[in-house]
């Protein structure tokens, strides 16, 4: 019996430690971060325009939302990558930005208004969200999530694109 109680107590301790390890860019409610399912909650909803012709009718799009320091790593990761359905790519930067060597439309969004219009949730630490939204060929947002590590998790974007 003592072994079972030790296991149960140890798991409780691990749960507390895990909850404390959340980063400032993570979603305050982890259930909504990288849920892996399309059309969660009120989705799908029409996607606001990021730039002229984006999203474009008949073409899927991925709209990334990043902090300025995340732009270069993301652009490097996107360079040469071939995502399913060859979506249009947009990177919305919460501030000023430098060059991006990927084939993506980069726009500034210093007050995170575009991120708000896409319905991205506020990160736990406040400020502009870091994540992405996937838009289908008829201009509807099918997936949106905070994901501060998206640069290393582009295969998840690929999985979501395959499902749209």
């Amino acid at each position: 019996m003592s072994t079972w109680l030790a296991v149960a107590g140890g798991l409780g301790l691990l749960l507390v430690l895990a909850a404390a390890a959340k980063g400032p860019l993570d979603d305050a409610d982890p259930a909504y971060q990288r849920p892996g399912i399309l059309d969660l909650g009120e989705l799908p909803v029409p996607a606001p325009t990021v730039a002229q012709g984006l999203p474009a009718p008949g073409r899927a799009a991925v709209v990334f939302f990043v902090r300025p320091d995340q732009l270069k790593p993301l652009c490097d990761a996107l360079q040469g990558i071939e995502l399913h359905r060859q979506p249009d790519l947009a990177v919305v930067v919460a501030g000023s930005f430098g060059p991006c060597n990927a084939e993506a439309t980069v726009v500034a969004d210093p007050h995170a208004r575009l991120a708000d219009s896409y319905g991205l949730r506020a990160p736990q630490g406040g400020g502009a969200p870091a994540g992405y939204a996937v838009v289908d060929g008829v201009g509807m947002i099918r997936y949106r999530t905070l994901d501060p590590e998206v640069t290393d998790l582009l295969d998840e974007v690929e999985t979501i694109l395959r499902a749209t």
């Binding site: 019996m1 079972w4 296991v7 149960a8 798991l11 409780g12 691990l14 749960l15 895990a18 909850a19 390890a21 959340k22 980063g23 993570d26 409610d29 982890p30 259930a31 971060q33 990288r34 849920p35 892996g36 399912i37 399309l38 590590e149 290393d152 998790l153 295969d155 998840e156 690929e158 999985t159 979501i160 395959r162 499902a163």
Partner: protein, 141 residues
Amino acid sequence: MNAARPATAPRVVRLCLWCVVAVVVEVGLYLSYRGHDARFHWFTHFFVGSAVALVVMSVVALRTRRPVPVPLVWLLVGHLFAMLPDLAFTSGHVAHQTWMDVFLGHVSSHFVPGRNVTWYLVFLAATACYLVVLDRLRPRQ
């Protein structure tokens, strides 16, 4: 008393081996998630899968009148069943769909009020249930 030792020692070794296997596999499952996911999804599916396994273990123990063998493996199997859609997501590019709730509420279990704290309490209740059953099966003096 001495005659029982040779039979008990190998049983303990065998049980410990299964414990090591179960713990190693659980660490592997944790690492199969990445970043934030590991800290949330692993716990949800572990607690849900293990709680169901503990209830099944309690029923089996009551019916057979003895504790189930290699109990940690039962928990592992429950966990694996609950997280199958995540394995499909990471290894097969299969996004989640609502029907995947057949895997012990794989999608909707994340959205219960209280989140993982709720599932931890459910896990504790299921553990208590199994321990009560074990206590009832213990021979009385």
